[in-house]
């Protein structure tokens, strides 16, 4: 049953139930018919026996039996007499049979103790008979009127058969109707299956829920929602890949051109060396871009899950990032100060992600500020913020910050345009949000919890 289709299961179950009910009612009706037949013939036998018991059997003569037999023979031909397998016999005090119906009655076996209805085998073929034993009115004779039990069953069966005949046709029609209706009602499912199996891998158009039963509609709408989600994810992936490829073109072009310049330089050592230095910068840019792309793609694919969250050791995260960025900051005469006060706004998460976030923010702050700027990192119970003064950004660019691959004009050659996208993603992953504020020449990125 497990491997059968829903359609087969429904049809088989309905058929079994229908046949079971049909069979049950046929059996019940046969049983009731037999009861009725029994009652009917018992009454009939009783009447016959009572009539026989009032007759005067004392002056029965030896020839009477034969004469009665002849009379019956004469009668037999013109009545519509149905053989009801009845038999009768009369016995005297000694148990001698003095009269019978010349048929089955002949074989009745005298039963001296019997009175009333008794089921007993007769002397011929040993078949079971139901016989009523009754004393004659004068008490000298015993009357026996019997009927073969098999006949009664047959009569009951015939009665049931007559009633059941039309039922069999009804049952057949019912079974056909079940098969037809189940097939018809399951057709929408078949249609959906066909639609799904003939679909192309990139076809995420919603399934139609027209003519679909109420019970299946939620399934269809969930599937449509899933299609929509997958479709959107694919669009996101594709645009990410095309953006990434697009972003790689610029540094690749730069490297190609710089390589040609190096080749053209010939004896001009200065040009040659400068071109090679530019080439190295181009390589660094590509490496950083690839590194950031991988980080972002890992973040976007949700490969990082909440269950991997662990308590954060903020002191060591801050320490490590500060150390890394110190040299870069000193080169531009930028001062790095951090103000940390417990408790922190977030205590659980992925520490390498927070390091990545902090590194990106400080990196940006160093890149997009003029020499001698101050960078302040604040971590407390409300937020994590990185701010720097002496910004080099104009207001038009600020609005576009955080867009994937957006980079403010010109000056910064090592930016991938992905830093703030990564920061945004990491914040969101930890149920936090990123805010950018500009006041005068102070630029601040704040990370705080979403309420």
């Amino acid at each position: 049953m497990k491997d059968l289709s829903l359609k087969q299961r429904l049809i088989i179950s309905f058929c079994v139930v229908a046949i079971g009910i049909w069979g049950g009612s046929a059996a019940l009706s046969w049983y009731e018919s037999r009861e009725y037949v029994n009652e009917f013939y018992d009454t009939y036998q009783l009447h016959l026996a009572r009539q026989l018991s009032t007759a005067d059997w004392s002056n029965i003569k030896p020839g009477t039996q034969d004469r009665v037999n002849d009379l019956i023979e004469e009668l037999e031909d013109d009545g519509e007499d149905e053989d009801e397998a009845l038999g009768l016999a009369v016995f005297d005090k000694n148990g001698e049979m003095i009269f019978n119906d010349d048929e089955d009655g002949k074989y009745f076996v005298f039963n001296p103790k019997a009175s009333g209805f008794v089921n007993q085998p007769n002397g011929h073929k040993g078949k079971m008979w139901r016989i009523i034993w009754m004393k004659s009115v004068d008490g000298d004779y015993t009357i026996a009127v019997g009927q073969e039990l098999k006949y009664r069953n047959k009569a009951a069966t015939e009665m049931v058969e007559e009633a059941v005949g039309p039922w069999i046709i009804g049952l057949a029609i019912l079974l056909l109707a079940i098969i037809f209706l189940v097939t018809k009602e399951l057709r929408p499912l078949k249609r959906i299956t066909k639609n799904l199996s003939s679909r192309g891998a990139d076809d995420f158009s919603p399934l139609s829920d027209k003519e679909i039963p109420q019970e299946i509609k939620p399934l269809i709408s969930s599937m449509n929602e899933l299609f929509d989600k997958i479709d959107k994810m694919l669009v996101r992936e594709r645009s990410f890949i095309s953006d990434a490829a697009h972003e790689l073109r610029s540094p690749l072009t730069a490297m190609k051109v710089q390589l040609e310049v190096a080749e053209l330089a010939g004896d001009d050592k200065e040009t040659h060396e400068k071109a090679l230095a530019n080439l190295t910068q181009g390589l660094e840019r590509v490496s950083r871009l690839v590194e950031q792309l991988l980080a972002l793609s890992r973040l976007e694919s949700n490969a990082i899950r909440y269950k991997e969250f662990a308590p954060l050791d903020w002191a060591s995260i801050m320490d490590n990032v500060n150390k890394e960025q110190k040299q870069l900051a000193e080169e531009k005469k930028i001062s790095l100060t951090s103000e940390i006060s417990e408790p922190y706004f977030i205590n659980e998460g992925q520490s390498f992600l927070w390091s990545l976030l902090l590194r990106n923010l400080i990196d940006n702050a160093i890149k997009y500020s003029k020499e001698g700027a101050d960078i302040r990192i604040i971590l407390n119970s409300e937020k994590l913020s990185v701010s720097n003064n002496k910004i080099t950004l104009n207001s038009k660019n600020i609005a576009r910050l955080g867009e994937r691959f957006f980079r403010p004009a010109g000056q910064n050659i090592n930016g991938s345009g992905l830093g703030l996208s990564i920061v945004k993603k990491i914040a969101r992953l930890h149920n936090c949000e990123m805010q950018i504020t500009v006041q005068g020449d102070i630029f601040t990125v704040t990370i705080n919890r979403v309420e």
Binding site: R249, S250, A254, M255, E260, T271, A409, G410, I413
Partner: protein
């Protein structure tokens, strides 16, 4: 030949700037659209290399504005997008040719030469003048079938005069075509170059028209 280069990416811009100079062009490089847009009116450029993906003023609108203001200089656009739409829009907006990133420096140079040749109605790859043959592709000069070696600026000057035959070229124009703003120009630089060309190719090749400029007559 003086080229206006507008490219925001420092590495690409620097490469094109240095490389095109090496290949005999004079270039002025701008890293943002606003300055680049203004620059076209301030010097006699022979061609423009314009990156479409500029952060401030979009390359396409720069191009449209130039064309609206009757600037007919040939423009070569650089597109990062590989898609056809961007190129079609670029060409429809008035660009003369395009290159998709990543491109080679040599290709930029070759296309610029072709554009300049076309715009000066000089479609043959070699220019003949009396007994002199000039090959713009290889930047070589032959006199009576023999190769004559000229310095880069002398070549540029000769090419300019050959392309503008029967036209009087003022000293100012020549100076502007030969030198970018980054280069220091001595006041008698053009005279010195003319002097060298006459010495190498014959006295009568370029005539001086007093106080106006120079002419190359057929």
């Amino acid at each position: 030949m003086r080229i206006l280069l507008i490219e925001d990416d420092r590495l690409i811009g620097d490469g094109l700037n240095v490389g095109l100079n090496r290949l005999g062009f004079t270039t002025d490089w701008f890293q943002n659209g606003e300055d680049g847009y203004e620059a076209l009116s301030s010097a006699p450029y022979d061609a423009v290399v314009l990156d479409l993906g500029l952060p401030d003023k979009d390359g396409l609108s720069i191009l449209k504005d130039w064309r609206k203001n009757k600037h007919n200089e040939p423009v070569l656009i650089l597109t990062a997008q590989g898609d056809v739409d961007q190129r079609i829009i670029g060409l429809d907006s008035g660009a003369d040719d395009y290159l998709s990133k990543p491109f080679a420096l040599a290709e930029v140079a070759a296309r610029l030469k072709a554009l300049i040749r076309r715009s000066s109605n000089c479609l043959v790859p070699e220019i003949r003048y009396k007994d002199i043959v000039f090959h713009p592709d290889t930047k070589t000069v032959e006199k009576e079938g023999k190769l004559v070696v000229l310095a880069p600026k002398e070549l540029m000057l000769l090419e300019l005069m050959l392309m503008n035959r029967n036209k009087v070229m003022s000293k100012d124009i020549l100076e502007n075509k030969l030198y970018s703003w980054d280069e220091e120009v001595q006041s008698n630089a053009v005279e010195v170059h003319i002097h060298h060309i006459r010495k190498k190719l014959g006295k009568g090749i370029i005539k001086t028209i007093n106080k106006i400029g120079y002419i190359m007559e057929d």
